[in-house]
């Protein structure tokens, strides 16, 4: 057993559901107890999804414990098959079903006989992999399933697209700024004269997966999701892939050059150097920012970076290489990807921290006392407590990290967004610091306003005690209204009863 208050990566089934629900017309059925469909709330709240999340539960209850699921799972699959007519139903095991060890693949086989759509069992082990690894695995599994299916039916296209094209692999729901990143990547490809053959899993249909082989090249913008699929496609079709993260000016240029190399290898003459130069110097503001006085003032400032492998590594390189900021520590919770992370940030930071324990991260931040933190929502709160500003650069995130405005992290517009994020974090800290030195703003005393100033109303001790239980942000209003209520009725002393009488009568 492990004493845990907080986790950075969710349980395995979340990864499977994220991939399943990113596809169009794919339904996931969780083999889980009541209440495990919290994923639907997250989709509906965080992503503000207009559609019903295509995830339901085949409920594990006492009867299932006693007698097994029997027909229940099969019935639920065939029912969903007729109700929603999905192309694919993915039966998703959870921690509960892992222990029950029911023969879920047997249920899938039986349901496949009746269902019009395809049925598949997500092959993830709850106790071995986390959300991100499961997402990577599930995406691979689905792609492999449909490539095999097309091959068996002899429907697999054998030709490449006439013009150079790419698949963008790994864009998924409930991920950090993914939809904006996807738009930015498509735009970048457009600017380079490259067609986007497919984007998976977000927004694609499973029956189009057979066309993945037509792309000249696969692009895997994030470390966490998509690599298994890209490797598989390389094995099957020899399609090369680029797994660089186009985040920051230098890395975006490297990413484009890597694409160019592969296209040239496949006989497409192209030279993107002029494009890179123009974008770097004039479209993106990041290069210019790095030379400006603003950025000069950041030179040597201390920062701590922590997040998933992709974002933490990229931001570390941006801070250190493109802004001259001293990254005293870079860390990630992607323990399983430790080797890659260490290598990626080598030379760009003083220390590397690989841990899943937010307490360890918090302690390290307290010890290092950086001028700014770039981390997850958890680090933002550590920063609040230590009064250090924090920019959120990675999941886990909250609803405010799903902006409706255009906020890519990748590509050239992404570099602009990152400049704002980084610079705003530091200046806020600086202003705070100056205020401290010079004794704050000129008015420290809060000016009492309205009728409560100079109040001669007496509060009984219990009345006051009760008032103090009311949350701070409405307490002033309640106090004013209660006093007005008492004054209007010539009540001398405000007791608990008067307080609540006022609430009832005037809604104080």
């Amino acid at each position: 057993m492990k004493l845990a208050y907080w986790m950075y990566a969710g349980p395995a089934h979340i990864g499977t559901l994220r991939v399943a629900s990113s596809f169009k017309n794919v339904h996931a059925i969780m083999h889980a107890p009541l209440g495990d469909d919290y994923f639907n709330v997250m989709r509906s709240m965080l992503e503000r999804d207009r559609n019903f999340t295509p995830v339901t539960i085949s409920v594990v209850d006492r009867n299932v414990l006693a007698r097994g699921s029997q027909e229940k799972v099969v019935d639920n699959i065939t029912r969903k098959d007729t109700e929603e007519i999905p192309d694919l139903i993915i039966l998703t095991p959870t921690c509960t079903s892992s222990i029950l060890q029911e023969d879920l693949s047997n249920f899938v086989d039986r349901a496949s006989l009746d269902a019009k759509g395809d049925v598949m069992l997500a092959d993830v082990n709850h106790y071995r992999v986390n959300e991100l690894q499961a997402a990577d695995r599930t995406l691979h599994q689905i792609v492999e399933f449909y490539i095999d299916k097309a091959r068996r039916r002899d429907e697999l296209p054998t030709d490449k697209t006439p013009e150079p094209s790419v698949n963008i692999i790994g864009i998924s729901s409930l991920a950090f700024h993914n939809n904006h990143d996807c738009t930015e990547l498509k735009k970048l490809m457009g600017d380079l004269g490259i067609t986007v053959n497919a984007v998976i899993p977000e927004g694609s249909f499973v029956h189009d997966l057979k066309n993945l082989s037509r792309a000249w090249l696969n692009i895997v913008p994030y470390r966490e999701i998509g690599l298994m699929t890209a490797e598989y496609l390389q094995r099957e079709f020899g399609t090369p892939y680029v797994d660089m993260v186009p985040m920051g000016v230098v890395e975006t240029a490297k990413f484009i050059r890597e694409i160019q190399k592969h296209l040239v290898n496949q006989g497409h003459a192209c030279d993107f150097e002029a494009f890179i130069d123009d974008q770097t110097r004039f479209v993106s503001q990041a290069a210019w920012f790095s030379r400006s006085i603003d950025c000069q003032n950041l030179t040597g400032k201390k920062a701590v970076v922590y997040g998933d492998a992709t974002h933490a590594a990229a931001v570390t390189k941006i801070l250190s290489r493109e802004m001259g900021i001293k990254v005293v520590m870079a860390g990630t919770f992607c323990k399983y990807d430790e080797a890659w992370f260490r290598q990626a940030v080598e030379g760009y930071c003083d220390e590397v921290l690989i841990t899943e324990d937010h307490g360890v991260v918090g302690d390290a931040i307290a010890r290092l006392e950086p001028a700014a933190i770039f981390g997850t929502q958890m680090e933002r709160h550590v920063g609040k407590r230590l009064q250090i500003p924090c920019g959120v650069i990675s999941a886990p995130i909250h609803v405010q990290d799903y902006p409706v405005g255009y906020r890519p992290m990748l590509g050239y517009e992404g570099t602009n967004q990152l400049v704002d994020l980084i610079y705003n974090s530091f200046t806020l800290g600086m202003e705070d610091h100056l205020l401290e030195i010079f004794g704050g703003h000129d008015t420290k005393e809060v000016i009492t306003k309205g009728i409560s100033s100079g109040s001669d109303m007496g509060w009984s001790r219990e009345g006051l005690a009760e008032l103090n239980k009311i949350p701070g942000f409405v307490r002033g209003k309640v106090k004013r209204n209660t006093e007005k209520f008492a004054r209007d009725r010539n009540i001398g002393e405000i007791t608990v009863e008067v307080l609540y009488a006022a609430k009832e009568t005037v809604g104080a």
Partner: protein, 466 residues
Amino acid sequence: MTLADVQPQALQFDCETGNYHTFCPISCVAWLYQKIEDSFFLVVGTKTCGYFLQNAMGVMIFAEPRYAMAELEEGDISAQLNDYNELKRLCETIKRDRNPSVIVWIGTCTTEIIKMDMEGIAPQIEAELGIPIVVARANGLDYAFTQGEDTVLAAMAQRCPTKAESALANPTDTPETKNAFQRLLTFGNKAEEASATKAVDHPPLVLFGSLPDPVTTQLTLELQRQGVTVSGWLPAKRYTELPVVDEGYYVAGVNPFLSRTATTLVRRRKANLINAPFPIGPDGTRGWVEAICRDLGVQPKGLEEREAEIWASVEDYLKLIRGKSVFFMGDNLLEVSMARFLIRCGMTCHEIGIPYMDKRYQQSELALLTQTCKDMGVDAPRIVEKPDNYNQIQRIHDLKPDLVITGMAHANPLEARGITTKWSVEFTFAQIHGFGNTRDMLELVTRPIRRNEALNGLGWEQLVKA
């Protein structure tokens, strides 16, 4: 009521498939750790449980909460590790770091399936550590959402001291003054007392159900007006202040989801249960106070006027909902009380979805619902236990109700389809009990309707492509 009366239309009870969305009952730690200030809640479960809690609790999670996961690993599942040793190690850490007065172990689906003997291990570790350990099996296999609190309070009910135990522990205190909360209410309140009703001599009364402190104060005062003294609340602000419950004490619930707690108090502690409607809405509050007075032999007074005053004071809100229809998808067991209140407000209700319906514990509430429908001249709603969300959404499309009270999983998708919703979980966390919170509750209910009025005529109610 005799059979000769015009029979109110009988309530129709149905039961569907149980394919519905609700919160896992372990969510009760979110409000219970805040209510019981000296407690620590240890949820013995997996990453799935932890993920739910950290997301459902939102910002609360960052405030160093007095709860944690005992996250089970593969070695625990396959019994390579010893449950007793593991739990002891964790509880020692908790004792060292937080020094709570009680550790509550929340059993989950996983501990059920692997049959971890939590009830058996707890007394041993309790003896070794010297901290009470209360075990509640609030799992998704058996319960929904607010029923989690029921399992915790049922376990705590067994820890309430008897008068003899309490006298032994505090020789100078009588049980009635032991409660700090009581002291607060009676201390130095002479001026008020003169005008208030004299306390009537009646058997001791203990109320059960976790409510925010201001609400417990309000309800206690409400009863005090009738001369009824509340000798304690289960739970109290601190575990060390659990009320005395002796044979012959009277107990009354404040929430509709507390059946197990009620059963435990009656069967194990030999208390008398006052079966009353729940103090939600002015009608429910009046019914609740009346039932308590009736069972304690106190003549209630002034309640009718008080109810009427409250109704009059919220007329502006009632105007907005009168004649409109409401549909409860069902996820927190407050549904019957809420529906009864809204029907009294002048709404119509076609369907009350509810996770679990205890017809005995909710007897008075169901009777009041039937009576309310008759009084208001509307059809009795259909009560659907263990609803099927998919079927419900088909029915919602057919019925086109003016307001759907539902969980967050369905709220945004329904809004995008032009169906007005109110998020049901808010009613669990908002203050909705007693006369004084009527306005707050109507504020919540009418908010989407007021939003609709504010955005009227913009022409973008339907936001999904047909």
